[in-house]
Amino acid sequence: MVSVSKAKAPAFAAILAAALAGCASTPSQNPQISAIEASLAAAYGNKFTAEHGQADLMKAESSLAAARIADRKGRNGEMQHEITMAENYVALGRIHGDQARTIAETAFERDRQDQIRLASRDRDVRRANNRADMSDAEAAAANAATDSANNRADASQADAVAANAATDNANDRAQNSRADAITAKNDARVANDRALSSQADAVAANAATDNANDRAQNSRADALTAKNDARIANNRALSSQAETAVAVAGQQSAEAKLAAMQSQLSMYDMKYTALGATLVLRDVMFTVDSSLLLPGSITRLEPLIAYLRASPSTSVTIEGHTDNSGTAAHNNTLSLDRANSVRRALTADSSVSNAMETKGYGQDKPVATNATVSGREQNRRVEITLQ
């Protein structure tokens, strides 16, 4: 076996092929061998096959040489075998060449991938750098802002320190104020206690005042009642005074009337009582056992009629009386009839409008004994009471 480097293999193979061809006295007339020769030459013409299928092609040449010998010697079976072997070795060499080419192409594609990835990374790096630049700018701006903020923070801190100092002072003052407040609170508590005590006293005083007020109210009520009573009493007194005055006036009037009556009725037999004045008319004015007035009796009644006409407010009570002659019932009727006769005589004058009442007592109220004639004359009478 001949050892050659892979770089020199194609050249070596070409030289070897030429040598083999040269060894052959004449080109083969066998078309199968010619076809293999052409195929082998074409295989050597391929760079990858010539380099990476070199061993296979050499085997093919060896088989091809053996085929030529067998062909010249007429050993057809051996020739066919060697042609088959040469054909397969050429194909195997091509396959190995194609493998190498494919591996190379794959490597090329991998390189391309790497380059693409590298370009992508470069671009990413550029973009990242750009972003970094932008970030740097932003960072610078942020730093500036931070510095500014720090300055402001310093100023704020100074303000805060001052504020803290002020706060401490305020706290001190507040503490003092709290102490004062506590003292004031205690004072207030004491004052409150006092106030409570005073309030209790006030409540008691109020209660006392209420009691006093109640009592005063009661007293006022009593006073009012008393006042009313006094007023009532006063009214009553006034009324009494008025009544008294009226009574006095009435008495005076009565006295006047009585005086007038006494002067006007002086011709009658008069007797005076608490009820008024009573005129006594004897029976001579009537016929015996009759209620008919005698003619002269009307004349005798005229002073009374004149008095009654002048004193219309004077009420008149006319009572008839008899002696005990006759029955009592007869005497009662006779006495009442005689009283009514006197009443008719008094009211015959239309100007007399006094109130009048008649009564018949018969023999029940004698003023003298009926045992004597003069006594029976005194009992037969008509009494007219003026009020």
């Binding site: 076996m1 990476h52 299928g53 070199q54 061993a55 296979d56 085997k59 060896s62 088989s63 079976g77 051996e78 075998h81 088959t84 072997m85 397969n88 070795y89 194909a91 195997l92 396959i95 190995h96 194609d98 493998q99 494919t102 591996i103 192409e105 794959t106 594609e109 991998r110 391309r112 991938q113 693409i116 990835r117 370009a119 992508s120 671009r123």
Partner: protein, 131 residues
């Protein structure tokens, strides 16, 4: 794969050398040596085909694999006919066809990887342009 199969030259020479040594020593007759050579060649071809069937089943549908199987059958048939020389020819043809099948399968895998790498590169290129 850039392997150099030795039995076409070195291995065969070694075997011939061993057979010649055994023959001169009187241990091995020429006929037995040829038979042994055929059996060894068939065994190697069978091992190559079994390896493909076991580790790369997708390659069993390749034309080269079918031809390798057919060559192995021919070799076994020739051996049965005591045609040891032809059995060795078919067995070595079967073995190189199996090797060709394996290489083609590996090439297909490499092509897939290349295509995937190319696709990824194109996608990356598009992504880069779109950014």
């Amino acid at each position: 794969m850039n392997s150099f199969t030795p039995f076409r030259s070195g291995a065969r020479a070694a075997r011939a050398l061993v057979a010649a040594a055994l023959l001169s020593a009187g241990f091995l007759s020429p006929a037995f040596a040829a038979e042994l050579d055929a059996k060894l060649a068939i065994a190697r071809a069978q091992a190559s085909i079994d390896l493909i069937s076991k580790e790369n089943p997708a390659a069993t549908s390749e034309q080269s694999f079918v031809r390798a199987q057919q060559a192995l059958l021919n070799a076994q048939d020739a051996e049965r006919k005591n045609d040891n020389r032809e059995a060795v020819w078919f067995a070595t043809e079967s073995e190189v066809m199996a090797e060709r099948t394996l290489a083609a399968a590996k090439l297909a895998d490499l092509e897939k990887a290349r295509l995937a790498t190319n696709t990824n590169a194109n996608i990356l290129q598009l992504e880069l342009r779109s950014k």
